[in-house]
Symmetry: C2
Subunit: 214 residues, 2 copies
Amino acid sequence: MDQNKIPQATAKRLPLYYRFLNNLNHQGKKRVSSKELSDAVKVDSATIRRDFSYFGALGKKGYGYNVEYLLGFFRKTLDQDETTDVALIGVGNLGTAFLHYNFMKNNNILIKMAFDSDPDKVGTTIGDVPVYNIADLEDKIAGVKVAILTIPASEADGITDRLVEQGITGILNFTPARITVPEHIRVHHIDLAVELQALVYFLKHYPLETNRLE
Amino acid sequence: MDQNKIPQATAKRLPLYYRFLNNLNHQGKKRVSSKELSDAVKVDSATIRRDFSYFGALGKKGYGYNVEYLLGFFRKTLDQDETTDVALIGVGNLGTAFLHYNFMKNNNILIKMAFDSDPDKVGTTIGDVPVYNIADLEDKIAGVKVAILTIPASEADGITDRLVEQGITGILNFTPARITVPEHIRVHHIDLAVELQALVYFLKHYPLETNRLE
DNA sequence: AATAAGTCGTGATCGTTTTCACAATTATAT
DNA sequence: ATATAATTGTGAAAACGATCACGACTTATT
Ligand SMILES: NC(=O)c1ccc[n+]([C@@H]2O[C@H](COP(=O)([O-])OP(=O)(O)OC[C@H]3O[C@@H](n4cnc5c(N)ncnc54)[C@H](O)[C@@H]3O)[C@@H](O)[C@H]2O)c1
Ligand SMILES: NC(=O)c1ccc[n+]([C@@H]2O[C@H](COP(=O)([O-])OP(=O)(O)OC[C@H]3O[C@@H](n4cnc5c(N)ncnc54)[C@H](O)[C@@H]3O)[C@@H](O)[C@H]2O)c1
């Protein structure tokens, strides 16, 4: 693949840039400056230029960036042309919300199947996504490399082991459990309760500072 | 409040430590080392010791940390004794999931009211939380300082302005819109589509590296 | 043509966060 | 008692990330 030179912080901003460039393109905008982008996505303009510069000289001095060119470039870089299939495990409150939401709108990611242990849920279809029995995980999941975990925390370790066994390489974990995986598996943890608590903590302890976390 | 000496990165880990210490305490564990904590929460042990050290010498050399003492200390530090009221705006897929979830379980945060524009939702109660008409925002929201935004992106700016007008100081924004707020308002952005895309990007471009994002 | 205004790309700097590594201290075993 | 093992707290270094600031170039204006 590409040279591993892109900082993680930059990589995390790429989808954001991509989405905004897409909007601009739909609006028929032909050029954009790092300053304009900065106002829109709330990232310092020097940071944006630096981010882009990891991919080469994409802009023109005195002019800015050509929206269509930049968009095309990022489309390739972010592999927007091929779809990544995802499996969702745990069709509860949160899982159901994700199934109803169409991640495809702006995006190359498709939740292709879901699993649950509840007989009332197994066999249903939510937002076009079939819900299978978790017992059949090993039969159904072939080829899927990314999983979203929205099961109770107590189930997280057991299910993770089975996913890893089946060749999953990335997990987006919404449970509060900090799961243990082999070195080569990437886990991204989104802990909504922690996010809320951290926000409240900041409000109480850093009352008037410059804000805007990321 | 406290001295603003605690790094933001540390502050974001505090809720995590707190939750895990709580578990240990319930299990009747009396002492814990930074190494054990590290294995559980997947944060380097030196980082944990450094984090704790910002609050003074909480442990004992050669022994570790006393669970009950540490827990009590963090309870105070994180203001776990007083409840923070939160308003949720937008009772759709995501908003409904949050209302059903009981943030109070481990936690000092309470979603006290919700707002929506849909007449079918206004007047209902979801998970004990009343859903008010967004038109009545200004009447009902007095005293609430934190809001969760789960409305369509197109509504985000308008609602944000009204929230700021009413004295909100912190916003947890789940919409893809990058909202504009005055300096003194803290916004934390959780962009689920971006998180997924970033995960997929990392899988493709950093295949075998040391993993585990945060 | 010449000048002014706008904008990129990047060296250098700065601030933050993580990690190393070890003296100091405590607990445990013999 | 003494020796051994465990573990903290932290100075120092390394890694990472954000921002400044400016030369080089492009476009627009007169
Ligand atoms: N809903 C929220 O707002 C919220 C907020 C923060 C964290 N979380 C976390 O997200 C996770 C999901 O939350 P939720 O509110 O959707 O929970 P939920 O109880 O509504 O849903 C969990 C689902 O997982 C299914 N399940 C249980 N065991 C399973 C197994 N072994 N295999 C497959 N499916 C199984 C259940 O049948 C259920 O449908 C939890 O870990 C929760 O702590 C949720
Ligand atoms: N559901 C997901 O999985 C998901 C994933 C990523 C991002 N998001 C984002 O989260 C937000 C909410 O997503 P969702 O799936 O819950 O959407 P949704 O359409 O299910 O819910 C939006 C809710 O907001 C209400 N609403 C609309 N305008 C309003 C207004 N002016 N005032 C008050 N309420 C109003 C609607 O009546 C509806 O109940 C969106 O911005 C979406 O892009 C959702």
